[in-house]
């Protein structure tokens, strides 16, 4: 069952740069804040109408009491460049929360890995806040770190950097091996090569693994069939081996998808 969602004008409470080309946008939108679950995303719309597709951005933090939603994103093109210019007091149209989110209940009584790569790291913050039990967070960066304070406050944080400037030199799996880490379940978000490696790792270790996928989207709500992924079994909705990342996902059990 899809979550409830709203199309709303959100008030910009503030924005700051948290890294090179990486921005943290704080929005006031009470309904989205109240409904949001870790791993869900919002569609953010450009003011410039010549850019008509919304940009799907994962929810980094949602505070139902304050009615706020925090988005952390990287400038990837003209649309996100427009968002980076938003100032306190501006309004921005959003649709959300969208997608399924991470299945927190699966982690009950288990030791969890929360694994993020690059701009896949932000959703781990809210996930770490709400996930019960023991959790180890493994964050993979190219070189520059971001969100490390938020993460280390909510779990044991291990860092991998491609250039070795902080933590393990290499990727998140190198970091897991170097530190001799083990877990009973994996939640991950990041680039496809990382997810593919984690899927293989989870199969070897025989532990459940939930991966958050990314794809170009148009409607964001399951109507247009732009953002599908391949599945191992025939999907009930599509009647073919395709699932909608925006609707059935973005989080999938690794075994049900083909990467």
């Amino acid at each position: 069952m899809e979550a409830e969602k709203v199309f709303a004008r959100a008030l910009v409470l503030g924005q700051e740069s948290v890294g090179t080309q990486i921005f943290s946008l704080l929005l006031e939108e009470k309904t989205v804040a109240a409904l949001a679950k870790p791993g869900q995303f919002v569609s953010v719309y450009c003011h410039d109408r010549s850019r008509l597709l919304p940009r799907p951005i994962s929810i980094c933090e949602a505070d139902p009491a304050a009615g706020t939603v925090r988005l952390v994103y990287r400038i990837a093109g003209e649309g996100t460049r427009e968002f980076a210019a938003l100032k306190t007091g501006d309004m921005v149209e959003i649709l959300g929360p969208l997608g399924n989110g991470f299945p927190l209940e699966e982690a009950e009584g288990k030791r969890a890995f929360l694994i993020g790569g690059g701009i896949g790291i932000p959703p781990l913050v809210e996930l770490a806040k709400r996930l019960p039990g023991k959790k180890q967070i493994i964050a993979g960066y190219r070189d520059e770190l971001f969100l490390t304070q938020e993460l280390s406050r909510r779990g044991e944080l291990f860092i991998a950097t491609e250039d070795g400037s902080t933590g393990t030199k290499g990727n998140v799996l190198d970091c897991i091996r170097e530190n001799g880490l083990t877990a009973d379940i994996i939640f991950a978000c990041g680039p496809t090569p990382m997810l593919r490696a984690l899927k293989a790792y989870a199969e070897t270790e025989k532990i459940p693994c939930y991966l958050s996928l990314e794809q170009r989207m148009a409607c964001g709500i399951g109507a247009c069939l732009a953002c599908v992924c391949h599945t191992t079994e025939k999907d009930e909705h599509s009647q073919v081996k395709n699932k909608r990342i925006c609707a059935e996902g973005p989080v999938f059990e690794a075994g049900e998808i083909v990467l």
Binding site: R51, G79, A218, G222, V240
Partner: protein
């Protein structure tokens, strides 16, 4: 709870939605007549959804009021499930987008059981878009759908540019277009709309061909074939290499073709291509379209079609136009 959130969603949404809300209040006492007729089927207003952009209305129906629309036009359905193309299936283009979904659809059995059952409750006309790889495919699906009482009209897609033999083979040759029209007309028990491709030299010739084949109406334009290169990856932006361009960027081409088609045939013309609001829709109506469809604009604003319908009524009231038929084809 769902209903509460839906109404919240509407009142909380953009200034545009607030405007639409005010328009609705104004229209409560309105005397304007917005109903149009397509092949004997009356639509409460001329605004439909364009096939492929709106699913079967289930998803958008959670946010917006389907009963405010003249008709819901479903995504294309075939006799069997289709997997569609590889991803990436879409890319943004200036004031538009390109898609190459490849007509992914769950097949007629699931469509009837799930999508049509959902539309049973919707207070709007239902137009089912039909796709196929052969004349036989089109006929099989059209015949099955004709037996469903919820189906008001069929729209035959002979113009999808994104799949081999997915229609475009029929849609670019007048003789083939006439043949598929005649074959579908033999089995269909509801009126049949033929959806035309703009990727032809002479749109009037295509419109005349399907009229000669017995079409009850034509709809146009489908998307224009385009290509986008990702210069950083040095490859095509879409897995399918080419895709159909839609959105405001193509609107002037669509208005021109609708005008040409409307002057070439006697059957009603349904106009579409880049409509985002009432002003855009009115261009098509004045150029000769009896109805219009809003498509890609839903991706920028989920309320685009509903706002367009309300905006047309508001325009009529402001301009003192009592019947929308006064506007259809008024620019000659």
């Amino acid at each position: 709870m769902t209903e509460k959130f839906e109404s919240d969603a509407f009142t909380r949404s953009s200034t545009g939605a607030h405007d639409a809300g005010r328009t609705e209040e104004r229209n409560e006492n309105r005397k304007v007549r917005t109903a149009v007729e397509i092949a004997g089927v009356t639509l409460k207003n001329p605004v439909m959804t364009a096939s492929g952009t709106f699913g079967s209305g289930m998803e958008y129906g959670q946010l917006t009021d389907l009963s405010a629309l003249g008709a819901v036009v479903t995504k294309g359905v075939a006799n069997v499930p289709w997997s569609g193309n590889d991803v990436p299936r879409i890319a943004e283009t200036p004031s538009g987008m390109m898609n190459a979904i490849g007509l992914q659809n769950p097949g007629i059995d699931t469509f009837i059981r799930r999508d049509l059952a959902f539309l049973e409750k919707a207070d709007t006309r239902v137009i089912v878009n039909v796709c196929g790889r052969s004349i036989q495919d089109y006929c099989e699906t059209a015949e099955r759908l004709s037996g469903e009482k919820r189906v008001d009209l069929l729209e035959i897609n002979i113009s999808c540019p994104n799949v081999k033999e997915g229609g475009i083979a029929f849609g670019q040759d007048p003789k083939c277009a006439m043949e598929v029209t005649a074959a579908v007309k033999r089995v269909a028990k509801v009126p049949v709309i033929l959806k035309l491709s703009p990727n032809v030299t002479d749109i009037a010739e295509m419109a005349k061909a399907v009229e000669a084949g017995g079409a009850d109406a034509v709809s146009l334009i489908n998307t224009l074939t385009g290509m986008k290169i990702d210069i950083h990856r040095r490859t095509f932006a879409l897995a399918n290499r080419t895709g159909g361009v839609s959105g405001p960027a193509i609107r002037p081409i669509a208005v021109r073709m609708v005008y040409q088609a409307a002057h070439a045939v006697k059957i009603p013309v349904i106009g579409m291509g880049g409509i985002t609001c009432a002003e855009d829709a009115l261009e098509f109506l004045m150029a000769g379209a009896s109805a219009v469809a809003v498509g890609t604009a839903h991706f920028r604003d989920p309320f685009a079609s509903v706002k367009t319908a309300r905006g047309i009524a508001a325009f009529m009231e402001e301009e003192g136009i009592e019947d929308i038929r006064e506007l259809i084809g008024c620019v000659d």
